[in-house]
Symmetry: C2
Subunit: 469 residues, 2 copies
Amino acid sequence: MKKDKIVIVGAGLCGSLLALRLAQRGHEVSVYESRPDLRKVDISAGRSINLALSDRGFKALRLARVDEKARELCIPMYGRLMHDIEGNTFASSYSGREGEYINSISRQDLNALLLDEAEKHENVSLHFNSKCTHIDIENTIAHFKSYETEEEFAVNATIIFGTDGAGSVLRKSYYLERKFLFSYSQEYLTHGYKELEIPANAEGMHQISKEHLHIWPRGKYMLIALPNLDGSFTVTLFLSYEEGTYNFKNLTTEEAVTEFFETQFPDALALIPSIKDEFFNNPTGALGTVKCSPWMYQNKTLLMGDAAHAIVPFYGQGMNASFEDVAIFDTILDEFEGDWEIVFKKYQERRKKDTDAIADLAVDNYYEMRDHVANPLFKQKRKIEMDLEKNFPKDYYSKYSLVTFNEDIGYNEALEKGRAQDKALLNLIADKEVFTSENMTIEELQIILEKVKEQTNEILQEDKIAGLS
Amino acid sequence: MKKDKIVIVGAGLCGSLLALRLAQRGHEVSVYESRPDLRKVDISAGRSINLALSDRGFKALRLARVDEKARELCIPMYGRLMHDIEGNTFASSYSGREGEYINSISRQDLNALLLDEAEKHENVSLHFNSKCTHIDIENTIAHFKSYETEEEFAVNATIIFGTDGAGSVLRKSYYLERKFLFSYSQEYLTHGYKELEIPANAEGMHQISKEHLHIWPRGKYMLIALPNLDGSFTVTLFLSYEEGTYNFKNLTTEEAVTEFFETQFPDALALIPSIKDEFFNNPTGALGTVKCSPWMYQNKTLLMGDAAHAIVPFYGQGMNASFEDVAIFDTILDEFEGDWEIVFKKYQERRKKDTDAIADLAVDNYYEMRDHVANPLFKQKRKIEMDLEKNFPKDYYSKYSLVTFNEDIGYNEALEKGRAQDKALLNLIADKEVFTSENMTIEELQIILEKVKEQTNEILQEDKIAGLS
């Protein structure tokens, strides 16, 4: 066993995978979590919260040899299914290639799996109901309060990892202790979210296609729904706090809520029997992006996962980015293990630009999902991209594919290439230099591919000359 | 007299101009400042700190009818004078038009002028040595501690303005009280700064040209110098904290500092007699950008100036942006006075995109001043732009001119147009589609002007189609 005493604050998805992987590498790891053990208590109060798991997440799970077990919890989603206001639906694949899809998975089931696997290692100890109150970063002492005994206690460590999520106590200690210049941002969207449920039917089956991520895009607000293994769907309403005809501030009566859903989401409303209960009893969540730097303090502490880079959910990459953190950290350990200060520094050097990029991509997608999916230019673009991916599977990757299915390039590379490619294609369509139709020949598509590649490279080159990249 | 009781926290440049202008509009205004009265105590400890005052600042000063008095404190600077490592100098005008220049002005003298003018109004009261400790935003009560009596006291107000600078107590109250979703960012550069002095010569005269802002650009670090009325220059060294061969962390001995200046800034070193004292006794300042939103809480409090949007100094616009805040606020008052909540909301709607823009432009210029001024592409661009401004004074405005000398357009418009224009011109030069030489004919320049305009519009159009603007 290695001699350093490692404390991980937060046993969520990132913390439990990190604990498992460090244990596999022979470290002694103590994990502290403020909530009760989610394997024993149903902490989501009856609601099934699900997330999108994709290739970057799987790559990290594979490293820790838990990918196959995770796969058993997954429901594949092959594309978006858009629902218009009349109840018509339109499918849009995530990729033109075979075998590229994302997965709906229960947060609780996946977290439980990771805790079970971590706990199999005798060098891991898990401590629940232990609320971290403050971290003394200079002396690497974490202070806790037990929710069971109400007692306060302190834990000495060699290294403390803060995987304690968007509201991280370790990050707050960095901010308040002012021992170094700490760049920090928290950026809220004007919209919040609320979770609702489409239950399974009487036979326990899904009432709408479980092979899709469902979207009801309405410009200034939208609903989405992801399937659960029990036949239900978790539905999320994204809506402005204060702006527009309908908002969280003015939807205060059952009549108002009913009118909103009846006029805007009639087909969804028919599937959500407890809408009134859920709308008024479920909390309204905020949507925010957190970035900060540095993530580490000397050779003592490190932020990982949402604690270092919380993002909005619109690219389905929050969990994947946190899992990828663990995979990247592992490659840095392979190279530099033995000097934590160097490990932390190299990790941030390697990783920061990528987590910044996925944060920005996720905000981009917030606008795209709300507004652009109904925009004719974007629809044509999507059609062309599917044709290109299908016919030139090794030569064309849409931005979505670069981000979601190309786990061997970083988010930042995906962002730079993907944005330039989107810009190229949208302008080619707007300038009528490329067309799309139902049955494109391979020769026609080949010409489009060349044009897109040429324009993309030109855009990247022009940005470079202007010092913009 | 209007009946609202207005409290302004912070009697710096923004707070004192705001107090003056609100007093002119008939408001009762109480101003509280943590520092002593700078008209009675020399708080800069013998150092003359100067700033760049330009057209946006003057526009606001004109509104308050103090522009002419301010003009008397100014030293015009018509361009940059670059000093290379061999001691050669190269001038670069700020504009090709007549009468466009920036001004070096003493922070203390200008602040004193504004306090004097404010104090002439019987509806203004000034309170120094009063440190704001906390603001109860719900009840609009500001809490202070007197540095003279050590006593704590509270002031009730109808409205509280926080013009208390980058470390604003009002902004901190927003962040810590969590009464609303507060988007907030503080972003530090990897460089810090240190002020030094070139004294006047024995005759009390400037030792180098006082008509220029002097720059010693060296890639990873630089010196700049601005003239003072007493014949001295305030010199500022911008240097990395930790990176590169020379940095603040390793320049810890007199030998190291001397070697750094002897090899990198020999001509400047010869003019800074007290370099050793100053380097080790003057503080190292941090360079940070602060953005936040919302600036207001209901109809009760408002952040203005650096408290709302601190920026790095590389565009010489910090003070100008804060003064412009007061001018914009005044136009909003003209329209909506009587309902503070609406006034605050409209003010932020109108102003936020512009202060975000100048923050980003200032960071751009940090890289441009350090790196690009020595880049041949940038030098050609600058030469062409001077020729265009000189020959087509009403048709061409460089990004610098748009930001600095076009006070009737907002910073955001200057940013969007200026960046597109820079990108167009740099790419035209790189692609050898435009050339420059010593004596360009008006016909040659006319062709360049048309090309730049066409490319600029195309860039803006392409960005728009891609949803990037």
